[in-house]
């Protein structure tokens, strides 16, 4: 088993992280379009998307079967399936892999839920270290506003209602997101996350991302510009 930081692949892995509502998926989508139009082979992979685990997760969320430990474990299973299927093979083939959320999401959420910091990090030690991990940092009230105003209601686990901080979804969500943000902040130096100020304009954030990523791109890998 090859551990975090030890893999050597010709491909590049760029990941986006951040609290809900930080705008990271929008930014990754724009980056994806740009890389494709530049002619790079790009593979997109999303958190919590393994077809193998999907039904179990869906059922468990609906029936509230999770404890913090099993929530963490099942997400790790999902991530392992994606690593073995969607992340390592394209990287070996020299492609660019874009990941919407990565192991840092688990580190932030699971620890916020009360899981042991070292235990969660150990579980994910098989993960490939990203070439660049962007952390979209938005002030807490902005992020919460974006989520709460955009949905009819907050979901049970999304709001952290399983932990029992509060019975009131919005209050529970606010407490949860605060703890998640604190975990992200401590990971910036621990894992060398690249912080993007998510309160600035979309265009400015995207320019900064493209600039940072260009340094890691091999121009020869292009298959010719798509028109």
């Amino acid at each position: 088993m090859i551990s975090y930081g030890q893999h050597q692949f010709p491909g590049k892995l760029f990941v986006v992280e951040g609290t809900d509502g930080s705008g990271k998926s929008t930014q990754l989508g724009l980056l994806h379009q740009w890389l494709k139009s530049e002619g790079y082979p790009v593979f997109f992979s999303e958190w919590n998307s393994s077809p193998l685990v999907k039904d179990t997760t869906k059922r468990a969320k609906k029936r509230h079967l999770f404890t913090p430990a099993t929530f963490s474990m099942l997400h790790a299973t999902d991530f392992a399936d994606r690593t073995e299927r969607d992340i390592i093979p394209p990287l070996k083939a020299g492609a660019i892999v874009l990941a919407d959320r990565y192991i840092y999401t688990a580190f932030a959420r699971d620890v916020a839920r009360g899981c042991d910091r070292a235990w969660v990090r150990d579980i994910y030690s098989f993960a490939v270290k990203p070439t660049v991990a962007f952390f979209f940092r938005a002030p807490l009230d902005v992020a919460i506003d974006r989520i709460v105003s955009g949905r009819p209601h907050l979901k049970y686990y999304e709001a952290g209602l399983d932990v029992g901080w509060s019975d009131e979804p919005e209050e529970s969500f606010t407490i949860f997101q605060g703890k998640i943000l604190a975990e992200y902040d401590r990971m910036v130096s621990e894992f060398g996350l690249t912080v993007i100020d998510a309160s600035r304009s979309i265009e400015r954030q995207q320019r900064e991302m493209r600039l940072l990523i260009s340094q890691h791109l091999n121009k020869k890998k292009r298959r010719g510009k798509a028109h």
Binding site: M1, T67, M73, T77, A80, D81, D110, W119, D122, F126
Partner: protein, 243 residues
């Protein structure tokens, strides 16, 4: 806690033990791999497809285990039940090690498990004996029990023999590491069952001193109160592996 390779008669003996314990007036919970409410069904479905990656498989099994640990075994022990488990973390660790998975990694995942009061290892001396049982059981060879994912042999038979030989080796090594109580499973069901009853009776009738009665706090659930009283010990497999 009963361990042993595939086809060695674990489920037969668990069923016999359960009946016997209940007739003696003990409440019994029996549990086993892939039987969790959370992950059991998904894991069985995933195994059907034969597309489970090595790491994914270990983590799926761990999810199943932790769900049963937190939602079945701990509550049952707290309520004074005798818990019989068909396979425990040792089978999971053995399967992972046979597949070349990092031993420290798999042990750290299972570090939240507790040490059972007794681990009975139904040992069979060679894979050939297991083959006879598999054939005569009428079930035939199973893809995963034959370790087909490891490509050890040309067909199910050859792969099964090679895979189970590796498993036996790992179990033998674990016997001293974890203090397995070894029972020769090549004998008749009746004599193995008699041995098991004697050994289980000893564990139940001679409770351990209360100083040892501690429960490992799940790393994931530190803020939850520890259960009042159960007959299990603390273990840190990581520390054991390092020492």
């Amino acid at each position: 806690m009963i361990e042993g390779t595939d086809g060695v008669g674990r489920s037969t003996h668990i069923a016999l033990l359960r009946t016997w314990l209940e007739s003696r007036g003990h409440a019994v919970l029996d549990t086993g791999m892939t039987r969790s409410v959370l992950a059991g069904r998904g894991l069985k479905e995933a195994k059907q497809g034969h597309t489970l990656g090595r790491l994914t498989m270990q983590l799926f099994y761990a999810t199943d285990f932790i769900d049963r640990l937190e939602n079945e075994m701990f509550p049952a022990l707290r309520a004074g039940f005798v818990v019989l488990t068909d396979r425990y973390i040792y089978s999971a660790i053995a399967r992972a090690e046979v597949r070349g998975i990092d031993s420290a990694w798999i042990r750290s995942i299972y570090s939240m498990a507790f040490v059972p009061d007794a681990i009975f290892y139904l040992r069979i001396s060679s894979p050939q004996h297991l083959v006879e049982r598999v054939v005569s059981s009428g079930r035939g060879f199973d893809y995963w029990e034959s370790g087909m994912d490891l490509h050890l042999g040309e067909d199910f038979h050859d792969s099964f023999v090679a895979y189970q030989a590796r498993m036996l080796k790992v179990f033998d090594r674990m016997t001293s590491e974890y203090g397995f109580h070894v029972l020769n499973a090549s004998r008749s069901v009746r004599s193995v069952a008699a041995d098991l009853r004697r050994a289980v009776a000893k564990v139940i009738d001679e409770p351990r001193p209360s100083a040892e009665e501690k429960v490992s706090l799940l790393p994931a659930l530190k803020e939850k109160p520890a259960p009042a009283k159960t007959a299990v010990n603390v273990v840190d497999l990581n520390k054991e592996a390092l020492s």
